[in-house]
Symmetry: C2
Subunit: 547 residues, 2 copies
Amino acid sequence: MHDGGPSIVTSERERLAVIDLGSNSFRLVVFMAWEGWWRRTDEIYEPVRIGEGLAATGRLGEEPMRRALATLDVFDHFCRAAGLSGDRVDALATSAIRDAENAAGFLALARERTSLPIRVLSREEEARYGYLAAVNSTTLTDGCVLDLGGGSLQLVRVLDRMAHELGSWRLGAVRMTERFLPANGPAKRRQIEQLREHVAGELRRAGWLAHAGPRLIGLGGTVRNLAAAVQRASGLPSGGVQAAVVSGEALEELVERLAALPAAQRSTVPGIKPARADLILAGAIVVQGVLLAGGFDGLEVTEAGLREGVFFERLLADRPPFSKAASPTADDRPPLFADLRRTSVLNLAAQYRPDAAHTDHVATLALAMFDELARLRLHEGDPRERELLWAACMLHDIGMSVDYDDHHKHSRYLILNGGLPGYSPIEVAIIAQAARYHRKGMPEPGPLAALFGPRDLARLDRCAVLLRLAEDLERSRDQMVRATRFTFTAAATATGEAPAESDADGGSGEIELRLIADGEPAVPRWAARRESELFARAFHRELLVAA
Amino acid sequence: MHDGGPSIVTSERERLAVIDLGSNSFRLVVFMAWEGWWRRTDEIYEPVRIGEGLAATGRLGEEPMRRALATLDVFDHFCRAAGLSGDRVDALATSAIRDAENAAGFLALARERTSLPIRVLSREEEARYGYLAAVNSTTLTDGCVLDLGGGSLQLVRVLDRMAHELGSWRLGAVRMTERFLPANGPAKRRQIEQLREHVAGELRRAGWLAHAGPRLIGLGGTVRNLAAAVQRASGLPSGGVQAAVVSGEALEELVERLAALPAAQRSTVPGIKPARADLILAGAIVVQGVLLAGGFDGLEVTEAGLREGVFFERLLADRPPFSKAASPTADDRPPLFADLRRTSVLNLAAQYRPDAAHTDHVATLALAMFDELARLRLHEGDPRERELLWAACMLHDIGMSVDYDDHHKHSRYLILNGGLPGYSPIEVAIIAQAARYHRKGMPEPGPLAALFGPRDLARLDRCAVLLRLAEDLERSRDQMVRATRFTFTAAATATGEAPAESDADGGSGEIELRLIADGEPAVPRWAARRESELFARAFHRELLVAA
């Protein structure tokens, strides 16, 4: 029995603080993991701008260093107060600190004043963490990863999920802004052209880029902010930007709009954050340069970044503090999830208290019905759709952790807000809406209607009704119904064989659902009989539930 | 340290299925309790209408009995499959079954075919459970409880939270509809008048009703549905109806609107459920009759009902299956929560995994600052506002069970959807918005803006900034800051004494916050300095955080 309460996690939990000393901002993130599952549990952000002035002088400025040391002092106190030290803290410096002439002096001061174990990442290490973040948060197998920071741009070519060429350029958004664009007023066309030419020239040294397609995955705060602005411009509700796509055209429109505004006013463009208003135009132009050089149609965004790359490596490579937390990957393979989509669903479910026996059985029954109806040619049996159905089954009840009333709506809320890396926005929307309609009502596309095409609506209907039927058969949560069998009646044959092609297409007959159960399945039958209307809409058949 | 995961509940959980065999619908609800906290974990509803035809014949009809037995069979299977039997099931029959001439025959059949232990409640018992539900889900101390079912109306006079006069009338919505209103077409004025006269005549026998005010609490499906319709008509978003107020005027408007429509079309009125469309008009007129007879201005709605009354009695009176779950009330007092508002907040918090040391300390710091600023005459020190601040502190982090990102928004969602019986809608809204703004941003009234007056906005500002300051001081979640002290600077005296009255009102000076901490409070100071803008808006003072 499901007892309706939120998640119990009795096993040991380990935590890791990752500190990112970026050229634009410093950020401290705490990850927690238990039994291979994880979540982010804390985050402190400070727009330090340690890279300010670096493009002109080659040195870290006094004022930026003062801000940086003050912030590190705060982070240091936080870690100590939180009991995070030794293997539980990893602090990483990137481009600005790596490249500054006076970096050693700054690092000496930082190490003197705090106990933070600061590592200065090489260009290759920085690029590799971006790659690990991208490949562990998207389904990228072949293509390119773009990581745009304040100081530098990293590009990594990916073949069969493995990193091949790694490149790093001093084309970060802070650097390019300071070098090419005016601090005040709109950007002049000539300034933009000079920046474009500089980017194109620099990228020419990566000959492989022209063949790195088709997919380009983008990381970093600038990329996330561009995606948010494009999302808002297309009328989608503001939510996360995981798996959002920024097309070349949308980016061009955004650049036009941003360039016409003085830097200080760019945050009036919906989605643009005030703290990035002055950097966002240069960042957008650098991304455009990559699209052009690689012939990419657009950029797929992931919310994961350097920090997640560090975390995933520790989690998956069985390194402290997560030793024994997961099965280590073989030594010759990088630390990658074997099946990200499956992992994402199970990780989201693990945040709550799933009644594993119930959800697993709902999934088993639903997938068996899916397969049988495909054999009977009532639908195509698309394996992607089958996976969405499985995900909806695994997640349908997580909303019970909010309240029993409207728990179907709460499940949707938790799915949309928790996110499912590896699934596209429309896939997440279908999973969320199927969970939303797992009890009653005729499915509608809901808050993300703008993403739905007609085929998606039909998919949602099929996923919703099969989840619902499975839930009906498991209404008393005791796995009493072991299996199901569909049989054509009326116009179809009496033996359960598929009817003639024309009949399957015409969809005029009836189909009977028999339940194979331990005992008398009174509750399942009573519950399943309520689904005839939605079943008819999804499969064009009248559903009969056998007595 | 808070580890960010959802609630752990390691103690033993007990469950109780309450089955309500009402005149209009049958409903099975499962409650779970652990350590005195509770939640609803399952519910099955079937609009059986066993009372159909009873008004005309005095007997249960064959077809209604058949529907009732089929539904009881389903409930019986559900309970057995769910492992609920013996003390864990309580099945209650009310008005229709109590009053029907052939009830004994029906009960014999039900007992033969199922193992459900059906109790037929007397009028007094039915009224008493309604009373227990009302007084344990609202702050009613003196007034009247109205419980309107399909078969009967119960009214209970309450003095100092104790039940006094109990009355029961055969004025249920199913009964009145069948007796007075047409099955099809709009209701005629004469029919409505006859129903009104009948209700008034019946209620005349409760002489005490005229003196039972001022508050009238309403229970039951009809009342909830009327509240939903009134809520929708006033432009509020559809959500729960806990503590919603249905004024006499709003009810009159609704009756006019419903009476003009044929029964089948009444569900076109936003908020009216199709399954109640035919009953709702008679129900509304019965409620109007009570308002008139008692001189009440309106009806305050609670979502609790008979089923919760049964549950609360078991939970609070230390009866099976909840023996030892809570401290039993003294024998001579009915089973009532000592402090419902406090209990509601702690019960909602207990659903998630609160970091008790952190939330308690945030509350301690916030309330101490509230009290000190009241002594310094920067606000009135309203004890109700103090309680809202406490509630927001206890609940501010529950959204972390959804996701770290936007957890302040998730906390709001969980508060608004979880509900806080005993708090009015505007109070719940202030608590939810204070939690929403516990990290950053200038507080706005949010989705329930329609409820906010100017004083509420000022209250929200004060609650939000004090919660935020307390959270800042507890930023590293280690209780390092033990206490705070405010001191007037600038125009004020140097000793921390309150300035002259005119200065406190004028609000032109500065106020310094000193931290008394174990160790160097670098993180708290860094965090608290961000609150000066909101502090100035809330208290009209410039906030300085002492070094």
